[in-house]
């Protein structure tokens, strides 16, 4: 098991790219430690910019760098880089069409015990609603690697959210099917379609295994690409299922669940169930404790799917 945090994989891909691309620039807002970007800063000091605790500055400076030919990767806690810097993401990055890749670290409830100020349960909603902004939530380090290898080369703005801790693998180094902007189908079934993103992909897959033993067959989609959303895969999975269940580490509003329901409602109406964090400050605890409490586990998701099918 590789078991390294997605943010470490991001740093690793950036270091590899920086060996041959002097335009790669990593920026931090006193966040190089939490972003696992210190190895990059040490190896490529000329391609690293520290801006201090100033996230609006972080994104604005990144946009200026990009306008002059650089490929900036600002890395800062997801709660700050999306919410504190929202207007810079909107105007300086997306609207001005600058090649900035915004990396939101410690996303969702990664900073479980630190409270709502440090949680990013709104980032999918706010970033997806900016025209021209792409949004990605990779599920494990292997998928993160494949995604980043595309993003270090392309020229469009994007937001990537990863969690703080190492997560169990969904894929393996040798077996990580990946097509840019297409959901990965983990398994196919005819009773329920479970569509998940980020750290919720693995428990969704586990739920499908639990349900399989009970004679319930599920499709599981790893919808790492929130925008552009892979609507074709959603319609295909939903069309052959009785219920559609979305699972995300996000508010119930404006995230994956809202988008899936929008697509399913318009193209192949089915019962839609949104599993997410509550519309409330979440309970104190580690990510695992929080997920357990809200039923965002293999067992919890399986129970909800089973109930929805009754």
């Amino acid at each position: 098991m590789t078991n390294i945090a997605n943010k470490q994989m991001i740093c690793s891909v950036l270091m590899e790219a920086a060996k041959t691309d002097q335009d790669i620039v990593v920026l931090c807002s006193d966040s190089r430690g939490s972003a696992s970007a210190a190895p990059f800063a040490n190896a490529f000091p000329e391609q690293f910019v520290e801006v201090g605790i100033a996230e609006q500055d972080l994104v604005g400076i990144s946009a200026g760098l990009a306008r002059c030919g650089k490929r900036p990767f600002p890395m800062s806690p997801a709660c700050f880089i999306t919410a504190r810097s929202y207007e810079q993401c909107k105007v300086d990055v997306a609207y001005s069409h600058t090649n900035v890749k915004l990396i939101g670290i410690s996303g969702g409830v990664s900073y479980g015990a630190l409270g709502m100020s440090h949680h990013s349960a709104q980032d999918i909603a706010c970033m997806c609603s900016i025209p021209g902004m792409r949004v990605y939530l990779p599920s494990d380090c292997h998928q993160t690697k494949k995604l980043m290898e595309v993003l270090v080369k392309d020229t469009e703005p994007a937001y990537i959210r990863v969690g703080r801790n190492a997560v169990d693998e969904v894929y393996s180094e040798d077996n990580c099917p990946f097509v840019m902007d297409q959901a990965t189908t983990l398994c196919e079934g005819s009773d329920a379609a479970i569509i998940a993103c980020g750290e919720m992909v693995l428990p969704s897959y586990k739920a499908a295994q639990i349900l399989k033993d009970k004679g319930i067959s599920c499709t599981v989609l790893d919808m790492y690409c929130l925008k552009p959303l892979d609507t074709a895969s959603i319609i295909k999975a939903a069309s052959s299922a009785e219920v559609v269940v979305s699972v995300e580490e996000h508010s119930p509003f404006g995230g994956l669940g809202s988008m899936v329901a929008q697509v399913v409602g318009a193209s192949c109406p089915r019962k839609c169930l949104t599993l997410s964090l509550p519309d409330a400050p979440v309970i104190t605890g580690t990510s695992k404790e929080v997920f357990d409490y809200y039923g965002l586990t293999g067992e919890g998701i399986a129970a909800k799917v089973e109930e929805a099918l009754k």
Partner: protein, 273 residues
């Protein structure tokens, strides 16, 4: 070319734009005109020929609401015809909208939300240092804009990275939409504030004097190891008593009578300049 005359000629283009589009930020357009004329016709190496080729000086209009002045200057530089701007400004489907947009030639960054330009300019200046070029970066801010916290984030970073290729201009016209800057949110002493942030502050007593501005920009080029702020003391609505120093003219559209008086005043200034 007599740049003082040019500034008054371009002011008339601005008034025509605003009357045609039935909107615009006329007061700040008038105060900042000489700053833009000095930059585009004397200081910066930016032309329709070299634009977008990675070789020119950079400009960010942080006080994006003064876009009408920028359009007039860019049109004079040959980026697009002034007739088209006046005809289409703010009209349905027009590319000439009420804030800078980089879909137009000559404009690098979209702006309009205040407090964004300086951090962007800092990023540009860091990039040109990394690129080891001698291209300079200019950013124009409003004085009311100084209340935005992100301005001071950018100020810190500019000094921290010793960006002597960066020159910010502060259009100090002392008025904003609700009244005087000192009534709305006291800003003085801006010279001390910027100096204490590690910037070289160059005070321009008459920020509507092209000669004084050019001298300040030339002085800024000689500063080493830190960025410069040109504190341009300007007159909001400069060019006609009808609109000078009146907060209500922040975005007032002239009536027919006001239009005739303003155009006559601007024509007279142009002849006397």
């Amino acid at each position: 070319m007599n740049l003082s005359k040019l500034a008054y000629k371009l002011r008339r283009d601005v008034v025509d734009m605003i009357v045609s589009g039935k909107g615009g930020h006329i007061g700040g357009d008038m105060s900042v005109m000489e700053v833009l004329v000095a930059l585009y016709f004397k200081e910066m190496d930016v032309t329709p020929e070299n634009f977008g080729k990675g070789v020119h000086d950079h400009f960010v209009m942080s006080k994006g609401h003064s876009v009408e002045a920028l359009y007039a200057v860019l049109a004079e530089k040959g980026f697009f015809p002034i007739k088209e701007v006046i005809e289409k400004f703010s009209k349905f489907g027009s590319p000439f909208i009420g804030h800078p947009n980089n879909k137009l030639p000559g404009i690098e960054m979209n702006s309009g939300a205040l407090g964004h330009g300086l951090p962007v300019a800092v990023g540009m200046a860091i990039a040109e240092k990394m690129n080891k070029t001698d291209q300079r970066v200019y950013v124009v801010m409003g004085d009311g804009e100084q209340a935005e916290g992100s301005v001071w984030e950018g100020a810190m970073a500019g000094a921290n990275y010793h960006l002597d290729n960066l020159c910010a201009v502060l259009d100090r016209n002392r008025l904003q939409i609700s009244g005087t800057t000192e009534e709305v949110m006291a800003l003085d002493n801006l010279k001390d504030k910027w100096s204490s942030f590690g910037w070289e502050v160059i005070n321009v007593a008459d920020g509507n004097s092209v000669d004084e501005l050019i001298a300040a920009f030339e002085q800024a080029k000689t500063v080493k190891g830190r960025p410069s702020l040109v504190l341009a003391n300007t007159v909001k609505g400069k060019g006609s008593p009808v609109m000078e120093n009146k907060a209500s003219w922040h975005h007032h559209v002239p009536s027919t009578e006001e239009y005739q008086q303003i155009m006559a005043d601007l024509k007279q200034h142009e002849e006397e300049a």
